[in-house]
């Protein structure tokens, strides 16, 4: 379990980084926190020609409020969010979610951008940031483009990122002071990937009521139309949503997703 040989570069700017990636867009890979890429290298599941370490690029670690939103560099670590060293625009939701990711050692290294580009359906950031309506900026050889997270995440381990592009920034709209959120995930043991997870955002002042179901075998489920969680939201309603949107799930997974959805809604409404 030792990686195949690779080269390593640590550029100081996005332009340098895209240049390095452009030398071999399919063979070279971005290294951020390395918490998923590291094991994949060791198992030789990936054998890049060159790793482009983007952590020393100043733009990759920005964390600032801008025009009603939080801009987070792709290399912002989970622990930076957990510890509140970045501005809170989600009434504590992001710090709370960050604190539940894997274990502290992973959170110290792992990054938001890495988690989103890896696109594991059972990871926390895709589910949480979909609920918050985030947007990502991709930096490529011919400039940058922004995408809604929902468009960026195409399926399990599949995103809209093109070879040679870097996820440089995440933009998270600030939620209203009156907004409520709920987040529930179930892992067989602490720190493992989830068996089921659900996130809920109810922001009446911005006219948003949104739920996301994660740890699905396919695309994450996002509902932001026609969903009106109320105090009496029960298992029956939750089950109806799960049955409609995840018809292929087996009875165990349906049961888990139903419970997660109900529990997340309960957290946001009571």
């Amino acid at each position: 379990m030792k990686p195949a040989a690779f080269d390593y570069e640590r550029p100081k700017s996005l332009a340098q980084a895209t240049g390095l990636l452009g030398e071999d867009p399919y063979g070279n890979r971005v290294l951020s926190g390395g918490q998923s890429l590291g094991p994949m290298l060791n198992l030789r599941l990936v054998q890049p020609k060159c790793l482009v370490d983007v952590r020393k690029i100043p733009e990759m670690t920005v964390a600032e409020e801008d025009n009603g939103a939080l801009l987070l560099g792709g290399c912002t670590t989970h622990s930076a969010i957990e510890d509140g060293t970045v501005p809170d625009v989600a009434n504590g939701m992001m710090a709370s979610v960050a604190a539940g990711i894997a274990c502290r050692a992973v959170r110290n290294k792992g990054t938001v951008g890495g988690s989103l580009t890896h696109a594991d359906p059972a990871a926390d950031w895709p589910v949480c940031l979909l609920a918050l309506g985030a947007e990502v900026t991709l930096h490529g050889p011919s400039g940058q483009r922004s995408l809604r997270l929902q468009e960026f995440l195409r399926g399990p381990f599949e995103t809209s990122i093109e070879p040679g592009e870097i996820l440089s920034r995440v933009r998270i709209p600030k939620i209203s002071a009156s907004a409520r959120w709920g987040y529930y995930k179930f892992c067989r043991k602490v720190g493992e990937f989830a068996e089921t997870m659900a996130a809920v955002l109810i922001d009446r002042d911005r006219d948003i009521a949104r739920v996301v179901i994660g740890a699905t075998e396919g695309r994450l489920i996002v509902l932001d139309q026609g969903f009106d969680p109320a105090l009496d939201f029960d298992s029956g309603q939750a089950a109806a949503i799960v049955d409609e949107h995840l018809p292929g799930a087996d009875s165990y997974k349906r049961r888990l997703h139903t419970a997660a959805l109900r529990r997340a809604v309960a957290e946001a409404t009571t």
């Binding site: 379990m1 030792k2 990686p3 195949a4 040989a5 094991p39 198992l43 030789r44 179930f186 067989r188 043991k189 602490v190 720190g191 493992e192 990937f193 068996e195 089921t196 298992s235 009875s251 165990y252 049961r255 888990l256 139903t258 419970a259 997660a260």
Partner: protein, 779 residues
């Protein structure tokens, strides 16, 4: 016991912890002789296949070694003399056929492990895939593919036990409980994996092997056989070893391969196991299947037990314990500590296309205890009794000790009913029953479960002679000597890799000689300098090595008395050894001074001094060597989330009787660690295989081990009924913690689910299995 409270019974802090806690231990992977080359193995990706050919690029042919290169190496054969046992032939490197995923097909050598893995990727093996035997029941089906072609079937051993009149008991039983249980195949997971360094010493013409092993002397015997070398031409050294649990209690194909390689290359070679090869190819254990029927009278008193049990032994018989150990043990230990009339049990040790199972802490007992204790709870539910009430009707009372049970197991001592009652009180059974009357706001259901079982330890010659396997424990030996500066050096052939023997054996020496435990140095794990021993397994060290150290210290005391008396100008009959000194009527001389005089100032010794010196080697065996029987009752309270199937352990109690505890703190540590492993067996650990025999977990993300967050506060209570047969009344307790949890937790979960009429019957008890049980019961 000793006043200074450093001897037997003292909770002395562990001497070895200073180096371990400071990161100063020295493990195989810390050793790097000059010029060493690293090894990576080509391993089979298929479970069952014929090897049509192997292609090695010409430019790397000198760094790749295949079966035909090792043609003078004998295969590993772990035989048993039990009637009907079929022996397997396990080559160090497979040539014509592979029988499990992960089996070694080639050896690649390079300057670094990564480069060795680069070589592995260039070796192309042409396999003809054969149908795989992926399950122990399927192995016995008509027309099943043959793993060892010459056998005619896929059964290592079938055994049958029939005591009492089971038909008569069945006819009169008011309660009959029939169940089918399955335990998972597990992977033992010590923090340190395996590792081997082999080097050919041209001066001594000796193969020197550093290996993370529990039994260096047995490994030497096995390697001598496979490599055709005399014992004296092989030296095995086990340095610090980071946990064994049975995983390091075998002869490895890797040890044989590296031994050959070092001799062939005349260069030191090293292989450090990685977690992937550990999980997919090496660490299998535990997998049982039971069809079991319990017969009871209307009160719930067990009167008979009938079972058909399978053990999935994997593809090969592992050396030295063989593929008979686990299945034949099932037949003899299934009755546990209970006294009842009739027992019939047939067992099969199935051969499958999986890595060989190895004895794991508790060996067959964990599965046996799960099957037996779940049946007893099912009987209690039928009889409308509390689980402990039905058990108390069959547990032998203290006045019945020593007690020979229905399979002639000789229970040396103990008070089983009191042990169980203490567990019932400590877990507050009536309080739990009150809590169960209403469901809390989170909707979780509370359940309580018990298990009680025994652990045979320090099995002796009379037990193992009958198995006829390559190893029979005899007298355990200890070499003891005073050094010129008065330190006591103890040499034992067993090995300490977490047991704390550097501390506990020093306590034993203190008990006999009164010497400061700080002056006692334990030398172990090196065939070159220690007396022969079968090693560390079967909860034997405190009884066997402890007894040997006591005997050796007593013999050394006699030697010291002779010299001391001469120096003190006293009669030998007037002196005694006490507090680290030879004491006469009016004067005394410390062992330190006696040793200094003996070695450094012999001119001060009388001319007619006894010439035997201050070094002895003495053997020891308990008066009755059928083994010690420690025992324990476990009690668990769980909360089951019936929406998602999650189990939380709310409370966990262990009442343990390990006889006289040499170091109660270390005994607690053994119980804690074992119990957490048992929680892994109960709730998390499973190495599943698909129909092609492919292992479905290859990293610790797929193979779940309990961590600190999953470990409850375990409350340990002790009873100390001395064994009548051992030196200090001590008993082996190394494995007990790992035996009880699946049964106690399984019973607790079933107690929580009883309102739904649901029962779990398969380990581990995963959320998916709990939901399936609920759905099957219509809940």
């Amino acid at each position: 016991m000793n006043d200074a409270h450093q001897g037997v019974g003292a909770p002395l802090p562990r001497k070895e912890d200073d180096r371990f806690m400071r990161g100063r231990g020295r493990f195989v992977a810390d050793i790097k002789p000059a010029g060493i080359r690293e090894v990576a193995f080509v391993r089979s990706p298929l479970a069952h296949a014929r090897i049509r050919g192997v292609r090695v690029p010409a430019d790397i042919r000198d760094r790749v070694f295949l079966s035909n290169d090792l043609e003078d190496v004998q295969p590993i054969k772990a035989v048993s003399a039990l009637p009907g046992f079929k022996s397997s032939v396990q080559p160090a490197v497979a040539g014509d056929k592979v029988r499990h995923v992960g089996e070694i097909v080639g050896i690649c050598v390079a300057d670094t492990r990564a480069e060795a893995e680069d070589l592995v990727a260039q070796v192309e093996v042409d396999y003809e895939e054969l149908p795989a035997i992926h399950d122990m029941l399927q192995a016995r089906e008509e027309g099943a593919a043959l793993i060892h072609d010459e056998w005619g079937d896929n059964v290592f051993l079938e055994s049958f036990v029939d005591v009492g009149d089971i038909l008569a008991v069945a006819a009169r039983a008011a309660i009959k409980v029939e169940r089918e249980y399955r335990t998972a195949r597990q992977c033992m997971a010590p923090i340190e994996g395996r590792g081997v360094i082999a080097e050919w010493d041209t001066r001594l013409e000796q193969l020197v092997v550093h290996s993370a092993t529990q039994m260096p002397h047995i490994v030497r015997s096995g390697m001598a056989e496979c490599l055709g070398l005399d014992h004296g031409r092989i030296r095995i050294i086990a340095p610090d070893v980071g946990g064994g649990f049975g995983y390091k209690g075998i002869l490895l194909a890797e040890e044989v391969a590296l031994g050959w390689l070092a001799r062939h290359l005349r260069r030191p070679v090293r292989w450090i196991e990685d977690r992937r090869e550990h999980l997919i190819g090496n660490a299998n254990c535990r997998e049982h299947h039971y069809k079991i029927t319990g017969y009871a009278d209307a009160d719930g008193r067990l009167i008979g037990l009938e079972a058909e049990a399978h053990v999935d032994s994997g593809a090969y018989s592992a050396y030295p314990f063989s593929a008979c150990l686990e299945s034949a043990q099932v037949g003899s230990i299934l009755p546990g500590p209970y006294d009842f009339e009739a027992f019939r049990c047939r067992t099969w040790s199935s051969c499958t296309n999986k890595p060989p199972i190895l004895p794991y802490r508790g060996v067959a007992r964990t599965g046996v205890c799960f099957a037996m204790e779940l049946v007893l709870d099912a009987i209690a539910r039928e009889a409308g009794k509390e689980p402990h009430q039905v058990r108390l009707m069959n547990l032998p009372p203290p006045e019945a000790m020593p007690f020979d049970n229905i399979t002639a197991k000789h229970f040396d001592s103990g008070d089983y009913p009191t042990c169980l009652k203490k567990a019932v009180d400590a877990i507050d059974l009536s309080g739990v029953r009150d809590r169960q009357k209403s469901v809390g706001p989170d909707g979780r259901r509370i359940g309580v479960g018990f298990s009680i079982f025994c652990e045979q330890g320090a099995h002796g010659t009379t037990v193992y002679a009958g198995w006829g396997i390559p190893m029979v424990p005899g007298h355990e030996q200890c070499g003891a000597r005073l050094t010129p500066d008065g330190e006591l050096e103890l040499r034992i052939g067993a090995h300490s890799h977490g047991q704390g023997l550097e501390t506990t054996l020093a306590q034993v020496a203190h008990e006999i000689l009164g010497i400061d435990p700080g002056l006692v140095r334990l030398v172990h794990g090196d065939t070159g300098v220690t007396p022969y021993s079968t090693g560390t397994w079967g909860s034997r060290c405190m009884v066997m090595s402890g007894g040997a150290v006591a005997s050796a210290c007593e013999a050394l005391a006699e030697r010291a008395k002779k010299i001391g008396a001469a120096l003190l100008q006293a009669e030998e009959s007037e002196v005694r050894v006490e507090g680290g000194s030879v004491v006469a009527l009016n004067n005394a001389m410390s062992l330190v001074d006696i040793a200094r005089t003996w070695y450094l100032k012999p001119q001060d010794l009388p001319i007619d001094v006894d010439p035997s010196g201050l070094e002895v080697t003495v053997g020891y065996k308990p008066k009755v060597d059928t083994g010690t029987f420690s025992y324990a009752a476990h009690a668990a309270v769980v909360a089951v989330d019936v929406e998602i199937g999650h189990v939380e352990i709310l409370d966990y109690v262990v009442v343990e009787d390990g006889g006289v505890l040499v170091n109660p703190m270390i005994a607690d540590g053994q119980v804690y660690g074992g119990t957490v492993q048992g929680i892994g067996t109960a709730l998390y650990e499973e190495m599943a295989f698909d129909e092609r025999g492919q292992p479905l977990a290859s990293t610790l993300a797929d193979y779940l081990l309990p961590g600190t967050a999953e470990s409850p506060d375990i409350r340990v209570l002790h009873m100390e009924t001395p064994s009548p047969y051992t030196r200090f009344g001590q008993k082996g307790i190394g494995e007990s913690g790992a035996i009880g949890p699946p049964a106690a937790i399984g019973n607790a979960v079933n107690d929580a689910l009883k309102e739904f009429g649901a029962e779990v019957a398969r380990l581990p008890i995963t959320p998916r299995r709990i939901i399936a049980a609920l759905e099957e019961a219509g809940a």
